[in-house]
């Protein structure tokens, strides 16, 4: 497998550039938008906030939450994708392909329309439940049969389960036209107009999940040499697999509960990162987080600029960016392995 940066020094420089990339995406997210803002505003909004300046308020109350949510969710989804690819050895594994987004979404819609849940925490738990259900079903379906888990089987199982959950979501919304029009943006995946309040209740889970995944690099590297080899080396592979599963569910499920279905970040980012930094998970996981955050935040900036004053839901943007990439991997990436 070829990748760009081979020495540690070049990787450190590469990582620094990635962080710079993220910072510039974050700053653009603060800078670009419908309200014209000058750079001074951004600085002052943080240093000498003036509550009568609408520019300051727009920066702190609209754009900052958006940039933060975009960063967190982008990082979560990218890490989830990287972990899933490591777990399954499947280059196409990612939350949306696995049906996890669709599953979480269906449970959320169910909880709102059928059980009239309004508490954010309850809805979040439903999202996690849905993510788990979909993930487990797809994992089981994908590993059925004698050849075990082949990429095509997993992808088909994921597509089937996605289709299942999304058609059930659709069915509930057809029965409740009003409900459909209420949650349109959230369904398509959007971080616009979300408040940071939605993040706080699940932030502890996310922090723990991200934190643990950062220290899993070595274990993942061992695991990647093959499960049998890993077992011989004394690795508790079952434990590792369960840990990965739980982390993936938390990361993907909480992303959906905040922002709806945002696909393809988890697929695209690990591949780009691997292409640059190589397959060493000690580098891969943290850099996936950085680049995933950068990609989602940038996609969100573009989404808000294209058809002002309206916005394209960022979930649609990522799907449109991600599809060619997916097709590329499907065409060329699979045959190499």
């Amino acid at each position: 497998m070829s990748y760009l940066l081979k020495t540690n020094l070049s990787k450190i420089i590469g990582a620094a550039i990635a962080v710079l990339l993220f910072l510039s995406a974050f700053l653009s997210s603060l800078y670009f938008g419908q309200t014209a803002i000058v750079v001074d505003d951004i600085v002052q909004a943080f240093t000498s906030f003036n509550s009568s300046s609408t520019n300051h308020i727009v920066i702190l109350e609209e754009r900052l939450p958006r940039a933060v949510l975009g960063s967190v969710i982008g990082a979560c989804l990218a890490i989830a994708g990287a972990l899933m690819q490591a777990l399954t050895g499947n280059p196409l594994a990612s939350p949306s392909i696995f049906g996890i987004n669709a599953g979480a979404l269906f449970f959320v819609v169910l909880s709102i329309t059928l059980f009239s849940f309004t508490s954010l925490v309850h809805i979040m738990w439903m999202a996690l439940l849905g993510a788990t259900a979909a993930g487990v079903i797809v994992f089981m379906l994908g590993s059925l049969g004698r050849e075990g888990m082949t990429p095509i089987k997993v992808v088909l199982a994921g597509a089937a389960i996605s289709a299942l959950f999304s058609s059930m979501t659709q069915a509930m919304l057809v029965l409740d036209e009003n409900g459909l029009q209420q949650v349109l943006f959230w369904l398509t995946g959007s971080i616009s107009g979300r408040s940071l309040d939605m993040l706080y209740p699940i932030l502890p889970f996310i922090v723990v999940a991200v934190g643990v995944s950062m220290f899993m690099g070595n274990a993942l590297n061992v695991f990647a040499t093959g499960e049998d080899v890993a077992k011989n080396l004394g690795q508790k592979t079952t434990l590792l697999k369960i840990a990965i599963g739980v982390i993936v569910i938390i990361l993907a499920g909480s992303s959906v509960s905040i922002a709806g279905a945002i696909g393809f970040i988890g697929l695209v980012v690990p591949h780009i990162t691997r292409g640059i930094f190589g397959p060493d998970h000690r580098w891969l996981i943290p850099l996936c987080a950085v680049l995933g955050a950068s990609l989602l935040v940038s996609a969100d900036v573009v989404a808000r600029l294209l058809i002002m004053p309206e916005e394209i839901p960022v979930g649609i943007m990522t799907a449109l960016i991600g599809t060619p990439f997916f097709i590329y991997i499907a065409r060329y990436g699979l045959t190499k392995r």
Partner: protein, 347 residues
Amino acid sequence: MGRQINIRTKKNTISFQIDLKSLIITFLLMALTISALFAGPGFGDPFFSPVEIGQSVFGIGNVGNEFIINTLRFPRAAVSLLAGFCLGIAGAILQGIVRNPLASPDIIGITGGAAVAAVSYISFFQDTFGIQWLPFAAIAGALLASLLIYVISWNEGVTPIRLVLIGIGISAAMQAGTMLILTMVPDYSASQAYIWMTGSIYGASWEGLRLLLPWALLIVPLIIMYSAILNVQELGDDTSAGLGLSVQKHRLVLLLSSVVLAGAAVSIVGTIGFVGLVAPHIARLLVGRSFSYLLPSAGFIGGLIVFLADIVARTAFYPSDIPAGIFTAGVGAPFFIFLLVKHRNKF
């Protein structure tokens, strides 16, 4: 691969019995379909007996019943059976090409293409050109999407794996496109589009049947002639080529017929989900893998699924008449998972 051939040889030694069983089941399914056609219009308020329905269809019944039977319920029964029939066969063909029981027109992007085209038409063109062109927009969308999938998958031939993976990718893009349109249009267009995307037999007419029937009459015999090849196709590239078949050409013909059947069905009733996935699966459990039996059985089962879904849809919440697609998804899917898990060794 070798194993499968063994099974087949093994089957051949007892082939006579198995084929007889499959044959009987296929005939039973056909009988069930015909009786559904003549019993289905009876359900509802008022209830009609099959005799009354028959009288009505041939114009010798009670004039008062004739409108409800001939114009409303009978076309609905016929369209649901025929659309399901097309979808079931389309799914069976695709699963044959791809050699995976999870493939179906709604998963690999064919109906996704139809959906983008139909939703665009509903949102932007229907006001000007009228609703009668909606089926053509949908089928054009299905064909274009399939062409795109085929072209992108082409790399000195098309392998089933590439076809499916790229189909799923295209499907995701189509979905994004559909949602983008839905977020921008006024509510009444969005709700019409949503109903279309769920799939509904509501308002089915003889006109719908007339549009659908030629495709079925054209394609189904063609596919039956291909049945023998399909059996070989299932063995995969290596073996098929060994048998001297021009694999790519046959694959294209099969794919095209699957696309046309699915596209035609979807253009009349909307993107009803899961029929193309579940029907062939049930059929396979009943009549085995031989395509001579599998194709018609999958068709009949598909028809019966859509038919039942529509009966429930128009009677369960009476007088509300809700889209049938709600029930094919809700009932079809759990059943499908159950089947997969129970028969995992048949993969």
